[in-house]
């Protein structure tokens, strides 16, 4: 029968396309990125699509809605093929069986050992790699050089210890009623894991131990860092609004020009240079108590592939990842505010760029990422134990009240961890 011959032929041809190597057809795959990546992802996708081998269909999702939207799409069978995922969510997604095992692909990359270890540490569950490093986001301190000059400080030298932060903040605060030495978002869990936790790590402390199974909020290092912030808040070196800022002023407070020092992240360099070209600022590490100690949150995105993504799309997705890892890809990422995740190219990608980017890269290299399957619950939640404890303790009226807040927070955090499967 002619008809049967025809259908058999089509079937064979289709099979052939899939199995014969070298005849990989151009594929289009869907990719989601959280809105924090809206600066670096579109130019990267544009460059990749322009090369023409495969096409990416990019969708930018508001950062607060990404997990919910992904879950709904996944339940409805319309999850994106790939996702640039806030790295701290990799364990939760992987353990829920949502992600494809990328171990073989990742280890086949010749520069595998040069990829950001912090990203890989949360991208690995058991022995399997479910997320590969994609974009980096480091945390550091910003200082306002003009205010430093007015306060009689050396405008070219940022603070290198907690004591220096305090000293410089006092000098800048003394300039006038509307000028403050220091700023932080006192009611934002995400902001404080990004910029406050590194103060603890820099002094060799931690908030989680045993691979995320034990909370250590009541350790000496954490209490010391809290007392340091509380002292500055108590002495009015910080604007009163910090107490209730749930993150909306995280960046804007410093950008307004009346704050001496503010912890921030690598994204601030691009945003300040583009939107506040007159602001004269410096960038330095988030220090420890003693000189020479510093740390950073190693944030950013891991690249993951949905568990149910069709095999036919994998070559295209892998080609995109390799493009992002190429010198060209890394340069696009860096020029648009992301810290590169390939250590061996760091020297080349920063050529011709603002030298403040180098600080973010070095901070990142010494950065940490907490591992927890309940990260959202304990850290990111607006009502979770992390920010509730910090808010109560930072603005406590007495030392006893501060210690009570810490004890309550420790108990609550441990209870949530214990209740998790």
């Amino acid at each position: 029968m002619n008809f049967r011959t025809l259908t058999n032929g089509v079937a064979l041809a289709t099979l052939g396309m899939g199995f014969v190597p070298g005849i990989a057809a151009a594929e289009t795959f869907s990719l989601w990125v959280r809105s924090d990546g809206s600066e670096f992802m579109p130019p990267l996708v544009e460059a990749f699509n322009a090369a023409g081998a495969h096409q990416v269909n990019l969708q930018i999702v508001p950062v607060d809605e990404l997990v919910q939207r992904y879950a709904i799409a996944s339940a409805g069978g319309s999850a994106p093929d790939a996702l640039s995922l806030d790295l701290i969510y990799t364990p939760a997604f992987a353990e829920a069986g949502q992600l494809r095992d990328l171990t073989d692909f990742a280890q086949s990359l010749p520069y595998f050992n040069e990829l950001s270890p912090a990203h890989l540490s949360v991208g690995t569950v058991g022995d399997q790699i479910y997320g590969v490093p994609f974009s980096g986001d480091a945390s550091f301190l910003l200082w306002n050089k003009d205010l430093y000059e007015q306060a009689g400080l050396d405008p070219e030298k940022g603070p290198e210890t907690w004591a220096e932060i305090r000293e410089h903040a006092e000098a800048v605060s003394a300039l006038g009623a509307e000028t403050y030495g220091f700023y932080f978002s006192g009611n934002c869990g995400g902001c404080n894991i990004f910029t406050f936790a590194p103060l603890i790590w820099a002094t060799d402390g931690d908030l989680l131990a045993d691979n995320g199974r034990t909370a250590t909020l009541d350790s000496d290092e954490v209490v010391a860092a809290i007392a340091f912030y509380r002292g500055m808040a108590n002495d009015n070196l910080v604007p009163a609004g910090a107490q209730t800022d749930s993150g909306s002023n995280f960046f804007a407070a410093f950008a307004n020009g009346n704050i001496g020092i503010s912890p921030s992240g690598s994204f601030a360099i691009g945003a300040l240079n583009n939107n506040y070209p007159d602001l004269n600022y410096g960038v330095t590490f988030l220090p420890g108590q003693e000189s020479g100690q510093f740390s950073s949150f190693a944030g950013g995105d891991n690249f993951v592939i949905s568990a149910r993504t069709d095999d036919s799309k994998i070559p295209a997705i892998e080609a995109f990842i390799e493009f992002a890892y190429s010198l060209e890809g890394q340069k696009i990422l860096v020029a648009n505010g992301a810290v590169p995740v390939r250590g061996d190219l760091a020297g080349q990608v920063f050529e011709g760029l603002d030298e403040r980017y180098l600080v973010s890269a070095e901070a990142m290299a010494n950065g940490r990422t907490p591992y927890s399957t309940v990260f959202n619950d304990i850290i990111n939640s607006r009502n979770g134990p992390w920010i509730t404890t910090l808010n109560r303790a930072f603005f406590a009226q007495s030392e006893e009240e501060m210690m009570q807040a810490v004890a309550d927070g420790q108990a609550e955090m441990q209870a949530i961890i214990d209740a998790a499967p």
Binding site: A71, N187, G241, Q243, V374, N376, S381, N383, N391, F395
Partner: protein, 307 residues
């Protein structure tokens, strides 16, 4: 002959020839409405109950656990704390709203050109969304950028700045006042419709008999607006019991998680902790509490004269 002509007297029974509608015809007429109720109320309700019997993570596969969510809920102090806060807020907000709404309705019930302007002005905040009103309030109350703090300083009430949102009592009252500002106009309209349906003769007769303003309000106005008042009260109580936006946007549940309402807790369980099954169980319990509350109100405010 006379049989074919309908009896003109209004008390006469319908003529035997008038077409009689059967029960199934009536059903056909309400079918579209029933369909809407089924699709948009009964099905989601059934699904919520079904989910509440599962361990249902936002990501991953659901697992049947029977009534475990409900037993857990019984011992969940954070839910009962949220419930207690919601009830306190509902009582305060309802007293404030009904009082202000009744006062406004009494003020604008007469006719006149200026009155129309007042009615519009009082109703205007109602058309603002809760989210926009909350954002506006959050900004006004911001200690560094807002208007309230400099205002109280200017008036000499305090020396230093006042962070309204950092203290529980101030935060609670500022949100409640915002809700009264935003919603009183809505209940005013409902009560106004009741006030206007009272024949003016009653009030005039009472006035001639020498009744004071309060006596007329107590013995004529209140009994005759009972039904619109009951409607407004039930809407107000159920609306307040479901409060979420204002506490989420203005206060983030703070200070110190003291302003987390029942719906806020459900939101946190479902979309922050990703426990949809447990969130569903909490929703079912909240629904039952609301049904009981509404039934009590309906019973208390039932129109005894009709029975």
């Amino acid at each position: 002959m006379s049989n074919t002509v309908p009896d003109p007297s209004p008390d006469a029974p319908p003529t035997p020839r008038a077409p009689r509608r059967t029960d199934w015809q009536g059903l056909v007429y309400v079918l579209p409405a029933l369909g809407l109720v089924a699709v948009f109320f009964l099905v989601p309700l059934g699904m919520t109950m079904w989910m509440s019997l599962h361990d249902w993570p936002l990501l991953g596969n659901p697992r049947w656990i029977g009534t475990a969510n409900y037993t857990r809920l019984w011992g969940d102090t954070s839910f009962w704390n949220a419930m207690r806060f919601t009830v306190i807020y509902t009582i305060v907000a309802t007293i404030g709203l009904m009082g202000v709404a009744m006062a406004l309705a009494l003020m604008v019930q007469s006719e006149g050109r200026a009155i129309t302007m007042y009615r519009t002005a009082y109703f205007l905040p109602v058309v603002t969304g809760f989210a926009s009103a909350s954002l506006l309030w959050a900004w006004l109350a911001n200690v560094d950028a807002g208007l309230f703090s400099p205002l109280v300083q200017m008036l000499g009430i305090t020396e230093g700045r006042v962070n309204l949102l950092a203290r529980f009592d101030l935060a609670f009252w500022s949100v409640t006042i915002m809700v009264v500002w935003k919603m009183a106009g809505f209940y005013m309209v409902i009560l106004m419709s009741g006030l206007q349906s009272i024949p003016s003769d009653y009030q005039e007769a009472a006035r001639i008999d020498g009744a004071s303003w309060f006596q007329r309000f107590r013995w004529i106005t209140m009994p005759l607006v009972r039904q619109p008042f009951a409607l407004a009260l039930i809407l107000c109580v159920s609306g307040s019991m479901l409060a979420f936006d204002q506490f989420y946007i203005i206060l983030n549940g703070g200070p110190r998680n003291q302003t987390i309402t029942a719906v806020y807790k459900i939101f946190n369980e479902s979309f922050v902790s990703f426990r949809l099954g447990y969130g569903s169980a909490l929703s079912v319990v909240l629904l039952i509490i609301l049904m009981v509350l509404s039934a009590i109100q309906l019973w208390l405010l039932r129109d005894k004269g009709d029975k």
